[in-house]
């Protein structure tokens, strides 16, 4: 069974540009999460989808970040326009259920904004 996959693995963009990160969850997992780790800090929750609906987007930093999950399958996270402080590793995770089930993580996308 394929795990959670994220594309790209690395991205280097200039300040002001747009970047789109993609996450393919494990097939059948209704729950999809995005997290971010800024260098030297803890992994922080960004948002949670249940199927195509946003269940909790309390962790989204600002309106430069837009997450979608059309059709309840893969998800994209777009940053537009990117700022220097957006640099970090973006993780995606998926799970079958809510709080009482295990979440499986992707390898992450390392985003560097220069």
């Amino acid at each position: 069974e394929a795990g959670v996959t994220q594309f790209p693995s690395h991205s280097v963009i200039e300040k002001g540009q747009t970047v789109t990160l993609r996450c393919d969850p494990i097939s059948g997992h209704d729950n999809l999460y995005w997290y971010r780790r800024v260098m030297g800090k803890e992994i922080k929750f960004l948002l949670h989808f249940v199927k195509e609906s946003k269940q909790d987007e309390s962790g989204m930093p600002n309106n430069r970040f837009l997450a979608e999950r059309t059709g309840g399958t893969y998800s994209t996270l777009k940053v537009q326009p990117a700022e220097l402080e957006d640099s970090g590793v973006y993780f995606c995770a998926s799970s079958q259920g809510g709080a009482d089930t295990e979440a499986f993580f992707g390898q992450g996308t390392r985003l560097t904004v220069v």
């Binding site: 992994i43 929750f45 009482d100 993580f105």
Partner: protein
């Protein structure tokens, strides 16, 4: 607000030494507790979890953790580390029974095991 604190940011041990990584959390309700590990170049993977029952939980690769409710702690232990345990370790919690499984992570502890 919920928070998780890991006491050690960087730990260096020799092979066969015993390991204990501290984790304390702050949350008023009942929580699920997790330890994740990230080996170099790999994805985060679950080491062990506590939802309910026996507070001493055993995970993969010889790791175990003990939930002490009165201390809000969930420390990770291994009696004898190996070089292959070199990795970053993350403690995490979520609110038990909630409709969102969002995890609150600690800052992570980097473990370096010398051969």
């Amino acid at each position: 607000a919920q928070s998780v604190s890991q006491h050690n940011h960087h730990v260096i041990l020799s092979e066969a030494a015993s390991l204990e990584l501290g984790c304390n959390y702050s949350y008023g309700g009942t929580v699920n507790l997790f330890w994740y590990v990230q080996y170099p170049g790999q994805h985060l993977q679950l080491l062990l979890k506590y939802f309910s029952g026996d507070p001493l939980v055993k995970g993969i690769k010889g790791f175990e953790a003990e939930f002490i409710k009165s201390k809000f702690s969930f420390n990770l232990r291994k009696p004898s580390v190996q070089w292959s345990d070199t990795a970053e370790y993350f403690c995490a919690v979520n609110a038990m029974g909630s409709n969102t499984g969002k995890l609150i992570f600690g800052q992570g502890t980097t473990l370096q095991v010398k051969p």
